[in-house]
């Protein structure tokens, strides 16, 4: 079992003719992902590694039903691509593009909420359910994916795509496989936070434990900790918080609104305290994670 994506999930690739998208399309196909079509406006009729390309999402979906899309178009065009996907009724949008204006991200997420669709990212390397499907570009080429990711009971959620592969590789080396790994995206505003995804993992019988990779800024860790405090979760949760050195290197804050919205949240030390207070096991060193997981499995 898995969450979000499995071998049955039909996937569309928006921006499929781009160099990076064409590469991850090929490697995802080799891994077993069911990629049904690609979209690049103006390039309809072409093929990318055997995948048919269409000018619009609506045309791509005609006779090729699917629920998920990977958006890999240049930052100025992401908002429109996401709105097009939502207008065509797609349920899962994985946005890999980085450096999208924050106003565009807010506008995408607002419309996705209206439609009840889920967004992963932006600035996400994607989702992988080992042995079943990769929706995105995490792990690289198929041989590298198989080296790093294996099937097992641990869900991984990471604010860094690279560290998701690092941690999964660490688990794999220790003989611990993964159910589904989600690169939630490195931006201040993301479609799905740790807390948004927690119920999905809780409902997945294959997942017994979770590993979180946390970074400075935002309040994703604190809101998860608050929720874990208020209700029991059946999952054993291990977290690693990176970037403690930034606590010692803060500039003078400009304006007061950030402090009002985030309060004391955002600092790595505060995140560690909140997570520990909620019963999460916090690893001081990356290499301790497999051992700390085993204690709860």
């Amino acid at each position: 079992m898995s969450i979000l994506a499995d071998r049955e999930t039909g996937v569309l690739i928006q921006g499929i003719t781009g160099r990076e998208a064409a590469t991850f399309t090929l490697e995802s196909l080799r891994y077993g992902t069911r990629i049904v079509a690609g979209v690049t406006p103006g390039k309809g009729g072409q093929q990318v590694h055997g995948v048919p390309v269409f000018d619009t999402v609506a045309a791509a979906l005609r006779g090729r039903p699917c629920t998920a899309t990977i958006i890999s178009v240049p930052a100025p065009f992401v908002r429109d691509a996401a709105w097009e996907a939502l207008a065509s009724g797609l349920r899962l949008l994985v946005i890999v593009t980085e450096r999208i204006p924050r106003g565009d991200v807010a506008a995408i997420l607002e419309r996705a909420r209206e439609q009840g669709a889920r967004v992963i990212g932006p600035n996400s390397l994607g989702i992988i359910s080992p042995g079943q499907a990769r929706v995105g570009m995490c792990g690289g080429a198929v041989e590298a994916i198989r080296k790093a990711y294996t099937v097992g009971p641990v869900g991984v959620m990471s604010r860094s795509g690279g560290m998701m592969t690092e941690i999964s590789s660490l688990l794999t080396q220790a003989g611990i496989g993964q159910s589904t790994c989600v690169s939630v995206g490195g931006d201040p505003l993301v479609g799905s936070t740790f807390l948004d995804l927690l119920p999905l993992y809780e409902a997945d019988p294959a997942t017994k434990a979770l590993v979180l990779f946390c970074e400075p800024g935002g309040s994703m860790e604190e809101t998860l900790a608050q929720a874990l405090k208020e209700r029991h979760s059946r999952l054993h949760v291990v977290a690693f918080v990176a970037g403690h050195f930034t606590d010692r290197n803060q500039g003078v804050r400009f304006g007061h609104a950030g402090a009002i919205v985030e309060g004391t949240q955002g600092s790595p030390a505060g995140k560690v305290a909140a997570l520990i207070g909620a019963g999460v096991v916090v690893a001081e060193k990356l290499s301790q994670i497999p051992h700390l997981l085993r204690m709860g499995l």
């Binding site: 106003g103 807010a106 995490c138 080429a141 690279g162 592969t165 990779f213 007061h256 990356l286």
Partner: protein, 394 residues
């Protein structure tokens, strides 16, 4: 690490004025004589405020008040050239001192939990506003312009009425619109002052713009030359790194930030760099720089960055550490590092205390490193274990 562009107060006020939001009369000056002339023209007591992209100017002595042109001249003279929050003061704003009947705190920013912009409003304005009781946020949409009644409603909830309510309501509606139109990350009026004659004026403004939206904000950015100049605080080292990065589109060097130590670093990606810095500092090692290498950099880019880092006077060694990489070719990075070290007149074996990049083409990369007897590590050695190994050389 993402750094938004902070707009200097005077340029922020000019933008507000252009949109019909009243601000105090005044002008930016660069000398005591100019300051006196502005004060004389205003013909009333003035505020003299340093123009730097940092907050807490009042507390750090960057704001003074003067009653006469002579006093203004003295205040301007005392502030110009001063160092405040690491900024050298080159410009000060001389503007009319307001007769304030009431103060408001108004700000628009993004709420990462709601994932919408919010407007924050409270009558407890001033410099300690975040310590005040909880401020109710008013979320607004980026999909459609906020309606005029939305602003009036907030003004009413702040207990204003009559003309004051109408003016404040329209000002709040404008703020929400401008926040979206300008691609701002923060638009804060603190305080928004109600003058004794019943008019509202933005006594101070903090505006931060989204660098990722710069591609569509050319007109706005052209009106902010002073802010653009002050926002760029990079050292020569950072500038040179950025030049190397932009000279070749393959891979990214991230931002190279100098640190006071002696250990040069080529590290990445983003999350791994944070992890590696923590591990190094915990182990008592002294990094000379931070960076976030990513993507698939060319041999040339890695070689030039290696030479640049080794050229820094304090730097003695260069550690190369990345997470298990997906798209970076290990052999290209290895070749670039070795070439850079050799061209710097150093022996790779001695100059590189650790090389750890697991991923594609790792066997080829390892072969290159073995040839030069560089101590290299694979995925079986985790990041903190590599750092531990660097503490004990053998």
């Amino acid at each position: 690490m993402y750094i938004p562009m902070k707009v200097i107060e005077a340029e922020g006020k000019a933008l507000l004025k252009g949109e019909g939001i009243p601000v105090p009369d005044g002008a930016v000056v660069g000398s005591a004589e100019e300051g006196a002339a502005v004060a004389a023209a205003l013909g009333r007591p003035v505020a003299v405020k340093v123009q730097i992209p940092a907050g807490r100017r009042m507390k750090s002595g960057g704001v003074r008040f003067a009653n006469t042109p002579q006093e203004t001249s003295e205040a301007v003279g005392a502030l110009l050239g001063a160092i405040i929050h690491d900024f050298r003061v080159e410009h000060v704003l001389v503007e009319e001192k307001l007769d304030i009947a009431a103060e408001l705190f108004l700000a628009a920013t993004y709420d990462p939990v709601r994932r919408t912009p919010v407007l924050l409003a409270t009558r407890q304005g001033g410099i300690e506003v975040e310590a005040a009781a909880k401020v109710a946020p008013y979320p607004f949409s980026t999909l459609a312009p906020v309606p005029a009644h939305w602003g009036r409603q907030i003004a009413e909830e702040l207990s204003f009425g009559g003309e004051e309510l109408l003016r404040l309501g329209s000002l709040i509606t404008s703020m929400a619109r401008l926040f979206v139109e300008w691609d701002a990350l923060l638009l804060e009026l603190n305080p928004l002052a109600l003058e004794t004659d019943g008019s509202w004026k933005a006594a101070d403004v903090h505006l931060e713009l989204d660098d990722d939206a710069a591609f569509r904000q050319g007109n706005l950015l052209r009106q902010l030359p002073l802010s653009a100049r002050m926002a760029d605080r990079r050292t020569d080292f950072e500038r040179e790194a950025a030049r190397i990065d932009s000279a070749d589109h393959r891979g990214v060097a991230g931002r190279l930030i100098p640190f006071p130590g002696d250990l040069g670093l080529l590290i990445g990606g983003g999350g791994a760099s944070l992890t590696i810095m923590d591990a190094l500092l915990n182990a008592g090692l002294k990094p000379a720089n931070y960076c976030e290498i990513g993507g698939n950099p060319s041999v040339w880019k890695v070689q030039e960055l290696t030479k640049l880092i080794l050229r820094q006077p304090r730097v003695r060694k260069l550690a190369v550490i990345m997470n298990v990489v997906s798209n970076t070719r290990v052999d290209l990075v290895a070749r670039g590092v070795i070439k850079g070290v050799l061209e710097s007149g150093r022996e790779p074996e001695e100059a590189i205390p650790a090389f750890r990049i697991p991923g594609s083409w790792e066997e080829e990369g390892q072969a290159i490193l073995r040839h030069y007897h560089v101590r290299s590590f694979g995925r079986e050695t985790s990041i903190d274990q590599v750092v531990d190994a660097m503490r004990c050389p053998f």
